[in-house]
Symmetry: C2
Subunit: 415 residues, 2 copies
């Protein structure tokens, strides 16, 4: 048996008892993980320093090094996040939609864990803890395959989680750190039918595509976010400005940042000069269609390539469109099923946007930045799925469970 | 472009307008399909006769020929089923869980169609209509890849559905009959990433496994049903008999028929002789463990192979187990995540069964035969999924849709 398969077999065996745990036992284990994180701050820092030195030697960019860091502040923040998850309701065992049928059967659904979840991700070692505790709280076992850059940090974090589980009387095997070798290792992991119930890839587009192309087990993709904001005819000018600036500037490097502004041609002359000037003042590079360039001094001419692009930077594509239909057609063509906003005061247009746009989160008069598990009330998120099935949008604890049918009878048979 | 890919491209293009239709337009189209079924009864019968003659020539079994038949009675039954689907609520556009957050955002989920669904199935030509109308009602386009045996019947049915769509102002391309060539054609179909949103295989285990192994797009498997009934200590003797007989005898050839009876050792001496005698009287062959054979005159000795087996016939495996834990362990090992029943009067045991059994439908004191979309109140079903994600158990219209997040704001931005 290969090493990866052996880890998966162990996780599978542990998943059965994980699925049958009381909430209290799981929450106690989570608190034990938080405590161990704090008491191991120094040794986590040591492992992380070795990763950082290796990364510097390999010439990683400053932004990448920043993501890789796991100093005392990051450890404390992670521990606090674990304690927060312990406070969230346990989705497992909850029943919904229980209805009494004519024959007396009481029928509905009951949540159960998925089983074994494989996380495949890059950089950020805090994901190791965040993903582990969300999977555990939802009664799953988890295989954690992080990036090579963070391998020492991830190994240290994985070891302490396993110790905390064992101390709490839970199976340590419910959490497995899969060594970050090469992509063959990922390929093997995502083809373990019967052992892995779901794989969640998080990271660059290359990694997500690799997983999607090679997986034999169900995948919830977390693809890029090419998020649009459409400023409708007659929309509120101040709101249009605020939503544009917030979407683009507040945190440009994340997947729910605004990447493309669409403006109704009737509103463009009044809205765009002011919005454009403010964006440029804030350091945003504007790449606009020909009419945008006429209205916004300092705007550059966009190439076809700039539409449908995830800049993750202070760059915004801008296009003036004829009407709502043209805006929807643009999103159909260039969107990434992530986050799409309309700014409008027309009820019908708002409803058409909500119906016609196929994206994990569709918003009316609110910033793209709200497509986030915390902001939408999930308490915590393991990522934002752009796969339509099972979970579309932010995935929290509920997204890490499934529902079975339950039927309570009194001897009913079929006639 | 290959022929299969071209059909999928056309379905994809049609799916966009399908997703934006009012319920009334879809229901009118469904009624037009029912009308055309009735007015084409003769020509459907002609096509079906050609399929049946070819099948007889190829030496298909009587049961297979029976499944293949599409005479006037089957056409009328199918047309009536289509009209029934027209009466069901449309899941598309319904909103749920709308909550007002502290910042004033109104947040919840709205149902949307999946897009393009590929059905891969065998024999029974009525599936062509049943699957098409369920997919259409849920706003999807559908690729129908039926069995080679039914190819003339399926072509005739597909043509009339497309005519009915065109007559109703809907895109005929929303329904595509994929020619039944060889398994390479299926392989190509289930690897059309970006064109096919979901594949649903229905048929023999070989077909379902082939699809599961080769798919690159999400699959909802419909694997076999190895359904168990556990008779707990102290359960009602009459109920135990009724549930056993109904599960095994009422319709032995279907996936929710009972295949294995587990009996608590304390109850076996009082229950098994009577149940065994009744089953044998009804023509059931009993394959039991050594103790079963002692208690039931006429029972045969089971081999290891008889446990975990889907007989689809008047054959029942029987095992006496030590207690509830042993029964659960047996189901863990031999079950197929389909349908599992406990007959008990102990509250705790009932709750443990509901929690611990991982199956699409878990029942207390009711026949296995109730795991069915119609019986559980779905109105109609496209199959019973044994895949845990997205839909576990009977899949109706709701299972053919997904949910996106919707956010209604008044200019909210993130701080």
């Amino acid at each position: 048996m290969t090493p990866v398969k052996e880890l998966a077999e162990r996780a599978k065996a542990a998943s059965r008892s994980m699925s049958r745990l009381d909430r209290r036992k799981k929450d106690d284990a989570l608190r034990a993980i938080a405590a161990r994180l704090r008491s191991n701050t120094a040794s986590i820092g040591d492992a992380n320093r070795r990763d950082l030195e290796r990364a510097k030697g390999a010439g990683l960019s400053g932004a990448m090094l920043d993501r890789l860091g796991m100093g005392p502040a990051a450890v404390e923040k992670t521990a606090a996040a674990v304690e927060h998850v312990a406070l969230l309701p346990d989705p497992v065992g909850s029943r919904s939609g229980m209805q009494r049928l004519e024959n007396g059967l009481l029928v509905g659904r009951q949540r159960l864990p998925l089983g074994v979840i494989a996380m495949v991700y890059e950089a950020r070692p805090n994901v190791t803890i965040d993903a582990a505790v969300l999977c555990l709280k939802a009664g799953n076992a988890v295989l954690l395959r992080g990036g090579k850059e963070a391998s020492e940090t991830n190994a240290a974090l994985g070891a302490l989680v396993r110790e905390a589980l064992a101390d709490s009387g839970l199976p340590a095997d419910a959490v497995q750190i899969v060594p970050a070798t090469d992509r063959d290792g990922i390929r093997e992991l995502v083809q373990l039918t019967g052992l892995v119930d779901l794989v969640i890839p998080r990271g660059g587009e290359g990694l997500v595509r690799f997983v999607a192309e090679h997986a034999r087990v169900p995948v919830l993709n977390h693809f890029k976010g090419v998020c649009h904001l459409f400023l409708d005819e007659g929309c509120d000018a101040d709101m249009a400005l605020a939503l544009t600036v917030n979407g683009k500037v507040q945190r440009p490097g994340v997947c729910n940042a605004l990447e493309c502004l669409l403006v109704h041609e009737a509103s463009a002359p009044s809205l765009l000069p002011r919005i454009g000037a403010e964006l440029i003042r804030l350091g945003v590079e504007i790449r606009g269609c020909s009419r945008t360039v006429e209205l916004v001094p300092g705007a550059k001419r966009a190439t076809e390539d700039d539409f449908g692009r995830e800049f993750l930077d202070l760059v915004l594509a801008v296009r003036i469109v004829q009407d709502l239909d043209a805006a929807i057609a643009h999103v159909d063509r260039y969107g990434s099923n992530h986050t799409e906003v309309i700014c409008t005061d027309h009820h019908r247009n708002a409803e058409r946007w909500l119906r016609d746009i196929d994206a994990s989160c569709v918003l009316v008069n609110a910033s793209t930045r709200f497509n986030d598990g915390g902001e939408l009330g999930l308490g915590a998120e393991i990522g934002i799925s752009t796969t339509k099935l099972h979970a579309y949008g932010p995935m929290g604890l509920e997204g890490l469970t499934a529902e079975k049918w339950v039927v309570l009878g009194d001897g009913q048979i079929r006639g």
